[in-house]
Symmetry: C2
Subunit: 328 residues, 2 copies
DNA sequence: CTGAAAGCGCTTACAG
DNA sequence: CTGAAAGCGCTTACAG
């Protein structure tokens, strides 16, 4: 059935075979209204028979739609580091967007640069933007040309809808579990200071501690495993009697576990350790944690951006559930 | 400096400011030869001043270049599973391609479907294809329209250049290390049977065993951690006296470690375990392994595809180095 | 080395 | 509801 020549089939071929004009064909293909059932039928059949696939370049040239979704990752460092989380986000976005023949790009966004989104806003190849690890300052300066086609995984704003896990609920569940299982000197290892998206987790931890009449104690981490080792060392120095550590990231929690065990401190016998995210190796490491449906979040964010909305969609909050394993 | 209107700057704006024709402007911008130094100068300056960014949709419409690179992952299952390896491949490709404003797509390729690449070959949005986990059968049937813009991470063919880690060297180093450290009953956990890209590792292991007068013993795994647990169980049943396990994948090796320890078999005291890939948690788990520069490989593959070569580039082989840790 | 012109494949007012 | 026509922003023979 595929034509003997290599010339790709265009909308003209479909129109000819369907016996209607190119305009009508285009209308059917783009799903516009006011089409006779008969025309719709003929065009649909012709397109299928010819295995027609629209040329997005041509389409986006006229619609000014752009051909790629850019994942813009705010980073304090000059070079972007891709951890497991980001890899999953990008892959999910690339899979979802492929269905619409839109590609995905990945780039860092300097935390300090002046108006780092301006470049993306004026790039005609950009269909939309998914912001990762964004800050209030960046959200405040979002280029207005991006409004309607930008979402944030993390915190949002009036103009930028957000998609995120329910950090507060997940953190509350973990903190309560630690308290309920008898822990009293519970330290939290937070995310980096400049990153606001885990703030709800810190607030939740704080509230649970206060409700239980327990001290609030935090150490700053940066989502990496080494930062967990360092945080554990710091925490042990400042609060030698600690009996639990709750890190807002599994990699960090595993670093905490490693540091404790290297000092022959038993986990969970002496100190309970919990993480957040339920990464692949959390199960392997018997780490108690809370789920973080990264794929679902990235898919939702991508779909929002692909849709280029007229009215701002609501913020999306994905549930987080406690996963009890051996470490806490 | 950015224009007061929101209209994006086009090549016409650049031409006008440079005082030359659109044709000349285009020639300078695409790097074609036979341009007067003066014209080149004026156009370059005008483009920079106006912050011109080319509209890839328009360009690829005329060049028929396509706007996205598709990562096509051969999979026996109907749904594509994204592991850490694939996440890193996709992210690296998305980062490299972003520089040329080309997007990345991710999709599965059925192991059984008839001519699964035909669809990609006739999709005008496809700039090129990076094949992952490919098989000889798929390589044999590569659509000729894809030749010159398809590469394989793994095995290659006459028409499809390959980019891969030096599986043979890495596996040889690990097998030798096991033998040299006194292990004599060494089992290999391989990749899935249908996947040819780790065959050089199996061959290397086989050669080292034979050279040392040791028995060749293999169990099939599938690159997952659970398959490592299962493989360890199988291996212990078949060869109760085994004293080393070499898995061609770290996740699998960690599964082996977990299974052994759950039976109170000491690692490395009773059984040495080695993996391959040096994933993030290999260091954490003290796993002896061999490096696998996934990012470098994915970047090279992407750049090859982005370049759309005329003469077939050579196969690229990236080195793998032994990483000695505690497990072996 | 340069410019005028044609054309890539689509969508969308416009007129009917 | 439909079709003829214009135009999206670019590249590239073609003629000079």
């Amino acid at each position: 059935l595929s034509s003997s020549t290599d010339r790709p089939v265009t909308i003209n071929d479909v129109a000819r075979r369907a016996g209607v004009s190119r305009s009508t064909t285009s209308r059917v293909l783009t799903g516009s209204s006011r089409i006779s059932p008969q025309a719709r039928d003929q065009v649909t059949r012709a397109a299928a028979e010819l295995r027609y696939v629209p040329n997005m370049a041509a389409r986006s040239l006229v619609t000014r739609g752009g051909t790629r979704v850019v994942i813009a990752v705010v980073t304090p460092r000059p070079t972007l580091v891709v951890d497991e989380y980001l890899g999953r986000v990008v892959s999910a976005a690339a899979r979802v967007s492929a269905a619409q023949r839109i590609g995905v790009g990945l780039q860092g966004l300097s935390l300090t640069g002046s108006d780092p989104l301006a470049e993306l806003a004026q790039d005609p190849t950009v269909h939309g933007v998914v912001l990762v690890n964004t800050t209030e300052s960046i959200l405040r300066n979002v280029d207005r040309r991006l409004v309607g086609r930008i979402v944030s995984i993390g915190i949002g704003s009036r103009l930028v809808p957000s998609v995120d896990v329910d950090n507060a609920a997940g953190a509350t569940a973990i903190a309560r579990h630690l308290v309920d299982s008898g822990r009293r000197r519970i330290v939290m290892v937070t995310g980096p200071r400049w990153l606001p998206c885990t703030r709800p987790a810190v607030d939740a931890y704080t509230r649970v501690m206060q409700d239980a009449g327990l001290p609030v104690r935090t150490v700053v981490g940066d989502f990496t495993e080494p930062s967990g080792r360092a945080a554990a060392a710091t925490a042990l120095r400042r609060w030698p009697g600690l009996d639990a550590v709750f890190a807002v990231c599994d990699a960090t929690a595993l670093g905490v576990v490693a540091e404790l065990r290297s000092r022959t401190i038993g986990v969970p016998a002496d100190v309970a350790v919990a993480g957040f995210d339920d990464i692949a190796f959390a199960e392997f490491s018997k780490l108690t944690t809370a789920t973080h449906p990264v794929e679902a979040i990235a898919e939702a964010a991508s779909e929002l951006v692909l849709a280029s909305w007229q009215v701002r969609p609501p913020n999306l909050v994905f549930p987080s559930e406690l996963v009890l394993r051996e470490s806490a």
